[in-house]
Symmetry: D2
Subunit: 304 residues, 4 copies
Amino acid sequence: MNYPSSIKDIYQTILKEEDLGAIATYIPELAKVNPNKFGVHLITKEGFEFGIGDYKDQFSIQSISKVLLLSLAYQLLGDSIWSRVGVEPSGTAFNSLIQLESDLGIPRNPFINAGAMVICDLLISQLVHPKEDFLEFVQNITGNTDIIYSKKVAQSEQKVGYRNVALCYFIKSFDNIKNDPEEVLDFYFHVCSIEMSCQELSNSFHFLANDGFRNIHQEEVISMSKAKRINAIMQTCGFYDESGEFSFKVGLPGKSGVGGGIIALHPDKYSIAVWSPKLNDKGNSYRGMRFLELWTSKIESSIF
Amino acid sequence: MNYPSSIKDIYQTILKEEDLGAIATYIPELAKVNPNKFGVHLITKEGFEFGIGDYKDQFSIQSISKVLLLSLAYQLLGDSIWSRVGVEPSGTAFNSLIQLESDLGIPRNPFINAGAMVICDLLISQLVHPKEDFLEFVQNITGNTDIIYSKKVAQSEQKVGYRNVALCYFIKSFDNIKNDPEEVLDFYFHVCSIEMSCQELSNSFHFLANDGFRNIHQEEVISMSKAKRINAIMQTCGFYDESGEFSFKVGLPGKSGVGGGIIALHPDKYSIAVWSPKLNDKGNSYRGMRFLELWTSKIESSIF
Amino acid sequence: MNYPSSIKDIYQTILKEEDLGAIATYIPELAKVNPNKFGVHLITKEGFEFGIGDYKDQFSIQSISKVLLLSLAYQLLGDSIWSRVGVEPSGTAFNSLIQLESDLGIPRNPFINAGAMVICDLLISQLVHPKEDFLEFVQNITGNTDIIYSKKVAQSEQKVGYRNVALCYFIKSFDNIKNDPEEVLDFYFHVCSIEMSCQELSNSFHFLANDGFRNIHQEEVISMSKAKRINAIMQTCGFYDESGEFSFKVGLPGKSGVGGGIIALHPDKYSIAVWSPKLNDKGNSYRGMRFLELWTSKIESSIF
Amino acid sequence: MNYPSSIKDIYQTILKEEDLGAIATYIPELAKVNPNKFGVHLITKEGFEFGIGDYKDQFSIQSISKVLLLSLAYQLLGDSIWSRVGVEPSGTAFNSLIQLESDLGIPRNPFINAGAMVICDLLISQLVHPKEDFLEFVQNITGNTDIIYSKKVAQSEQKVGYRNVALCYFIKSFDNIKNDPEEVLDFYFHVCSIEMSCQELSNSFHFLANDGFRNIHQEEVISMSKAKRINAIMQTCGFYDESGEFSFKVGLPGKSGVGGGIIALHPDKYSIAVWSPKLNDKGNSYRGMRFLELWTSKIESSIF
């Protein structure tokens, strides 16, 4: 199976189809993006790379950051983090608050907003400069110091993110946030504001697909066992209430963001990033989902 | 990695540990089983087999049957079944009824009781003798005509299964059961009453782990694409509200039953059945979960 | 304030307004009723009566029966019944099942379907001929042996009442139904099938408005304290998730039925029955609600 | 029936019983109160007064304030407020957040925290000095300028009231809070911090029990129709998830506060305030509930 030509073929097929998604408008800054952007980039375990379309344009990776955030926390704090956050899928978005209530403030997993806030809180307790240290971690595993926070996006979210403020104070009321909620929210909004290109994104997740779980510089980022477990959580919880659907249709661990990016990876083989800003009604990139579904069908290879 | 010796080692390790589970008592017939039974059996894609302990004793496979039930329906009816049942994890057990209500009677996935009842209903509409035909399908893929329904277990469940009766009529009220609920329940309770040994169980799931998705007689059971998708649903939904935990710790698609059985499989490599009747507080075999966690740690191989 | 002329005025006013309700169709037999029927009947504590429109036509009183059912059970069994059913409003209809689950099978109050089923179960355990005995009780307090069950309506509900079957088995699964669910359901469907005219209905509730809580024959039906408590439950729970609205706008204890009937009463003053089959979107008679709102506004007298 | 001697008798009876409540500790300032305080004060429609025990000691009336807050908003803004908040009981506390979610940010009634916050928001939009104006309104209807906010209690709640902060931002996310959530919370915490004695409390509610709904100075506070409706909401929603129980056992409209105060009133007859800081497990004063239950039993007079 030829990877580059397969990517080219699918990319062309999808370009000809109508884009049935709609751009996210609830964060004013994100609404300004060109809705027709479409890029794909793949890097194999062995380091071969191939990109197409707008794969060099940076975009807001949003929730995809939560996987890198978890990676840093898991590396630093080990399995102790699982007393503060679970590893179960959350069912419908609809249930998020009632679940937090019945679970006494323990979020179901680290990839829903509530869970990522708890991870932020853990890192604030651990690090002197959490914002700087997290950015450095991301730059380091990607091998690229151009990656930065978007102050504009962080501020734009902070201004309208009433529901996230509600969530953070609700967890605090169960004492599962230890620091000042305002500090946690500031860190959280920054984490989500990181911008990367498809190329940088696939590179940043390379370590999770790489035998020995080393990054592109062949340095160990986290242990193999921890990497496998992060992949497992992506598999069951990476796409909100479309996680089962993604697992069913694509068959790879992955994570989406409301900026239209999706990362997916085949352990021991490759990581692949797709970006197209218009979202389906579950909040995942319409063309991104479509691309990856055609991709694993065409190459007849998923983890299942 | 030597599979037989690894299985032997882990089996011995666990025998020395205390069994912290408790036997299920809500189905009177199941409560009669010897709680100390413990068996393991593995079959590789290539047909090599290895068993230990009580791997030749038959036990009630209960919910594990739901995977075989789905396989038959998916083979016969194709993707049309997904308009009647979803592929998303269900979150907590707690939410099952409210989710059915907000989802207008469409169960979240085919492995929760509600979903399996809808699959039963689909097969009743399709087959002249659903109970006989399903049993024949199971016997055929396993290559073993000794497998039968346990009338005693089916009747025992029928007698006390008030909650399942409630569930079936509730779905009927949304018109997502087309046949007489009593007939659906009778089929459902029979499906769950099938008895197999670990050896038969691993053999019956061989086709889902086998390249080309052929069974042990090298006949195609279902298409490769459908088999991958069934594996994907097992990965996200196979262990109720411990699905994420199983994915996290074991990293294989699998399915548990309240009789203490667990099936797990590594696509393209093997299927493995474990049986130990005492359950943890999530309703999954305590020793079964423990065995499989040690197993994928020891052989350092999961799908992630 | 002249009661008869006020009733006449309001009746005429409403006749000129458009009837914005819609007839209930989920019970086939009920859908056959003439949607333009409209009757009102009032009886004072002292026994004066006044009726207008179709107040002599019998109709299916449906859930209104639950108050009479509770009255019989409360008289026979006293406060012991409150260990099996609560006295709290149920919030939204939406929550009924999840509340049953979190409340371990104890229905919130005796006027939701679940609660009335538990009362049926209590009476079945207590009486040799529950159906006959309940009918006799109703005939007796109304002073009218013409009141009977409608076999047609009972059978019509039994045929399509899947949700009620689900509810009954669900409560049984918590062991808060002691008898055979089929027997409970049969009694329940009969209770709901009673037919009365507005005149009979206001007469049957006379005892709850009458000083000393005697019926129209001046015999004590239940103690004053029990009658006050039944009125209190009607006030908070009589109109499903429109109970607060009815209390707010009308200010009287009352109970509605899906057949389009409403009973309301002013303790120590009168009971009043209204019937008009077309329902608002909460399942309460559109014209019935409208009539009673204008009624307590016009006579400037509610319990508040 | 002699009111003063009945009050004396019941007061003595309860003093001899064990106080099975426990003091609220989640607001640090409230935990400092003497748990053995116990006072009662009644004022009749005609202005006769009788008090016993600690009826002249001021205490934190907490949620009881919400009725006075609603009265001011209803007087100023009329029925337009009902597009922003409902009049239905909320079912269990448990459901508060999920109900807000399914009701798109419209609180069920003005006496749950969420509803009172929306009322605060309405008054902030309407008044130049909401805090000062509300206090003046309360002083005016009570005829007592000694009533003030407790800065200590307001600050104490502000410091630990994470759940209320969460609630306010959650409603804001549905755009049903129009002003800055911080300003709404500041007003809300002040409203709840008002301190009154039993005597002041029964006087402040006199207008809701008084024919013509005039206050103790015979000035109209709100129209009779509005007063009746506020009483109706107290009847169905005044005691959180014990509202039905209070209606059932006491049979009067009323409102409780977490400071141990309860106000109840019999329209056209009297208002009565009881204070005892130790709470039952539903958060209502144990002795307050007990006193009022014995009271309406003894005088054989409730609104039902």
